[in-house]
């Protein structure tokens, strides 16, 4: 092999490899690598593909349950939902690209996760997203919000999948690193799921989809590099999404899978051809030989290095049954997509790349993955914050005023401006659209339904990683429960700063521990996920943000709950214990300007007990109106139920021993608000009592106002005005 270019330490550095990592590679292959080989290993061994900082800790997550068909390790997780159907889902981040070019960064993020799902043989039926931006008055924020939201819609709407849920928030710690986490959910037959592992020696390896250009070269490396002010220079790596091509790719792939020609399939995501080809070979204990002269290229004179690292979108790699090439090609031509046989599987366990008759790379295929660096990075448990006594927090002049400010604040305000740009109704199965606790999507023609949600409370994770990790899982579980769903499994997207800093690593480990404990206790295994590290600019890291995407099942989708008050004179019942926990609450942060104290602890046993109780009430048809209490506590939850239903409520109960503002705005976990007729409520209180579940009758629905204890009256119309106004006004340029 020729070394056209000398491999200097500088070049190694530019590839994001640490000197010892490079030494490890040289030792592994016993010679100096070619430039192409250096490119390949830099892609395989970077954080994004190798999980070198997180792998060790991810192993501790519970990933098994009788209904789990495929856990972490494939393109997406797969769970059994009965009737021979499987739900296939995963969440993935596109944070760094979206900061550099918000529209294209978001589109390609959505495109990538949709591909992960249909690569497994599933037809996408829903998409969700979880977004975090810098402070509203940061000069970049508006531009980033409008670009990211337009991009998510632009891709999903054209592809034809309903975007049914997500989350969005603002915080100064995201000023230099926004978060764009996209989740896709698909349906497949349990006996028709496709995997990445190649089988059979000498089988054709086929390239499908769009042509290869110089897009995103070093994208994978960029996604693992900390920003500095020169990052703007990384711009030429921006990839452009083509939802039209993806839609054709979806239809062509599913048609081809039906034909029985597909042995293995892998989408070309981060570090495109390199990662996909190596994964297919390594997982199947086979070698792979590629002839790059056959790769469909969009641009003249592309080098082997460029082809191997290109992140052009809407591309797939498949291993086909020999003899079925012609049939497969016909299907792809019909959909107007490229199809080329670019290599074959071998028994050599080597990854061989040829270009213009020359061998450009010849590497041991399994070691590229298995021998990737694995770090147990030094970590420091962060210093825990003291518990804040409710009495020590000054009450507002007026609870009504405080509530009005909270429902109209950037984080609590209505996100209608966002989800109206997403087609959330296509496919005609959206039973609960954005704005509920969890989205509900009917499965085919029913009777089943899926409950979907994405959650995490970064300020909790910052204050106490373990409790914060637990809370993220508990909140997802609670949101699914609140609509009547049985939580089945999660995908997680761990967004953190620079893992080479012990306090960041400590936070990551703490969150993973909390997630693991909660998933274990709630029987809510992790089946897929993604890690995004180095979300840090000039030494300032983001808030730790382990986003949890939860999936639950409704056996009869017609039996579910929504949060809107539906009738006057309904009793409003609170389930769960209230200590008036104000530490790290929205009240303390937004109204007192104090991001302080320990976050509310999560009692997983109580979570489960309270949630199972509420779910049974919904499933047995006793209640149809449920909302969980989270940011802003009981008060904000009540306001949301009133605004959604256009019906007010009068809250008379105010328990002994808890200051009123702490009772109203405290963020104690494991709580739900229910509304049902008064006789029903009596039974529910009785049942709860018998089971030792804290339950309290708060008051009655009715009228056009929310009346808080102490006769503070605030009209639903006023709440709604404040709630709906902030985001459109902000995006229209009004000062934050």
């Amino acid at each position: 092999m020729r070394n056209a270019i000398e491999i200097t330490p500088q070049l190694v550095k530019e590839h994001g490899l640490k000197p010892d990592e490079y030494e490890r590679f040289v030792a592994l292959i016993g010679r100096t690598p070619t430039l192409t080989e250096l490119g390949i290993v830099s892609a395989m061994w970077n954080e994004h593909c190798s999980y070198k900082s997180s792998r060790l800790h991810l192993r501790t997550l519970p990933t098994k349950a009788p209904w789990v068909i495929q856990g972490p390790g494939e393109n997406a997780g797969v769970i059994d939902i009965g009737d021979g159907l499987a739900c296939v889902f995963k969440m993935e981040s596109h944070n760094h690209p979206s900061f550099i070019e918000p529209y294209q960064g978001a589109t390609t993020g959505v495109g990538g996760i949709l591909r992960d799902v249909f690569t497994m043989g599933a037809r996408p039926i829903a998409a969700l997203n979880f977004l975090r931006f810098g402070e509203p008055d940061h000069p970049k924020t508006r531009h980033l919000v409008s670009g990211v939201v337009a991009g998510i819609g632009g891709y999903g709407n054209s592809f034809g999948v309903p975007t049914v849920g997500g989350g969005m928030g603002f915080h100064r710690r995201y000023n230099g690193n926004i978060l764009v986490n996209a989740m896709a959910v698909g349906l497949a037959k349990t006996n028709e799921i496709f995997y990445a592992a190649a089988t059979g020696v000498g089988n054709p390896i086929v390239y499908l989809g769009s042509k290869t250009g110089r897009d995103g070269i070093h994208g994978a490396t960029m996604a693992s590099a900390e920003f500095d002010d020169a990052s703007a220079e990384k711009r030429p790596t921006v990839q452009v999404g083509d939802p039209f091509a993806e839609k054709l790719l979806l239809e062509a792939c599913l048609e081809l899978m039906q034909s029985g020609a597909v042995i293995a399939i892998q989408d070309m995501g981060a570090a495109g051809l390199t990662c996909s080809a190596v994964e297919m070979g390594a997982k199947g204990d086979l070698g792979v030989e590629l002839d790059l002269d056959r790769v469909p290229c969009r641009e003249e004179g592309m080098t082997a290095y460029e082809m191997m690292l290109s992140e052009s979108q809407e591309r797939m790699l498949m291993v086909l049954k020999p003899g079925m090439e012609a049939e497969a090609e016909a299907i792809f031509r019909k959909w107007g997509l490229d199809f080329a046989i670019i290599g074959r599987t071998t028994d050599s366990l080597r990854f061989v790349v040829k270009h213009r008759g020359e061998v450009m790379a010849d590497l041991p295929i399994k070691e590229l993955g298995d021998e990737a660096p694995l770090y147990d990075r030094p970590h420091r448990a962060n210093t825990y914050q003291p518990t804040i006594a409710p009495e020590s927090v000054t009450p507002p002049v007026s609870n009504g005023e405080a509530l009005l400010r909270l429902v109209g604040s950037p984080d609590q305000c209505s996100k209608r401006w966002v989800w109206e740009q997403y087609d959330h109704l296509i496919l005609g199965n959206t039973v609960q659209m954005p704005g509920g606790d969890a989205a509900i999507v009917r499965v085919l023609d029913g009777p089943k339904g899926l409950a979907l949600t994405t959650d995490v409370t970064p300020r909790y994770c910052e204050a106490d990683p373990v409790e914060g990790g637990k809370q993220a899982v508990a909140e997802a579980w609670r949101n699914i429960t609140a609509v009547g769903g049985l939580p089945l499994a999660v995908t997680d997207n761990l967004n953190f700063g620079n893992p080479e800093r012990p306090e960041v690593m400590g936070t990551l480990i703490g969150c993973i521990r909390g997630i693991g404990e909660a998933c274990h206790a709630l029987d809510f295994p992790v089946v897929s996920g993604n890690v995004s590290l180095y979300n840090e600019t000039n030494g300032q890291g983001i808030l730790p943000t382990p986003t949890i995407g939860g999936v639950g099942l409704l056996d009869d989708v017609t039996v579910h709950a929504t949060l809107a008050f539906k009738r006057e004179e309904d009793a409003v019942v609170l389930i769960g214990a209230t200590r008036g926990w104000l530490g790290q609450s929205i009240y303390l942060a937004d109204l007192c300007g104090r991001e302080e104290g320990a976050p509310p602890p999560v009692d997983l046993a109580a979570e489960k007990r309270n949630g199972d109780f509420v779910r049974n009430l919904i499933r047995s048809g006793q209640v149809d109106t449920v909302h969980d209490c989270q940011d802003g506590g009981i008060a904000v939850a009540l306001a949301e139920m009133a605004m959604a239903g256009g019906i007010g409520a009068m809250v008379t109960a105010a328990p002994e021993g808890v200051p009123l503002h702490a009772f109203l705005f405290g963020e104690d976990q494991g709580r739900y608000l229910l509304a049902c007729d008064v006789d029903q409520a009596a039974d529910i209180l009785y049942e709860a009592n018998a089971l030792g579940i804290p339950a309290l009758m708060l008051g009655l629905t009715g009228g056009r106002s929310l009346i808080l204890p102490g006769n503070e009256t605030i009209s639903v119309a006023q709440l709604k005005a404040a709630h709906e106004a902030w985001l459109p006004d902000y995006m229209a340029g009004k000062a934050a």
């Binding site: 070019e101 897009d215 452009v240």
Partner: protein, 79 residues
């Protein structure tokens, strides 16, 4: 004063629209078209007579809004 701003994709950046148009022209039997890349034009009326001011305004418009300089180039012509 009148001006025209032309915004085109940087070379190498994927142009899905251009690709779709090429395909459509072929199937419509239009011969001889090898490739198409799509861009935007903006015909701008300026309410200043001062050329320098105008150029400055247009440059600002391009940088701030009309062009996405991450993937696009722009050109300003003042009539």
């Amino acid at each position: 004063m009148k001006a025209r701003v032309t915004v085109t994709l940087k070379t190498g950046v994927l142009d899905p629209q251009g690709k779709a148009i090429e395909g459509a022209l072929k199937s419509l039997g239009v011969e001889g078209v090898a490739s198409v890349r799509q861009g935007k034009v903006f015909d701008v009326e300026l309410d200043t007579a001062d050329r320098a001011k105008a150029e400055e305004a247009l440059k600002a418009a391009c940088e701030k809004l009309l062009a996405n300089t991450v993937v696009e180039n722009y050109r300003v012509e003042i009539a």
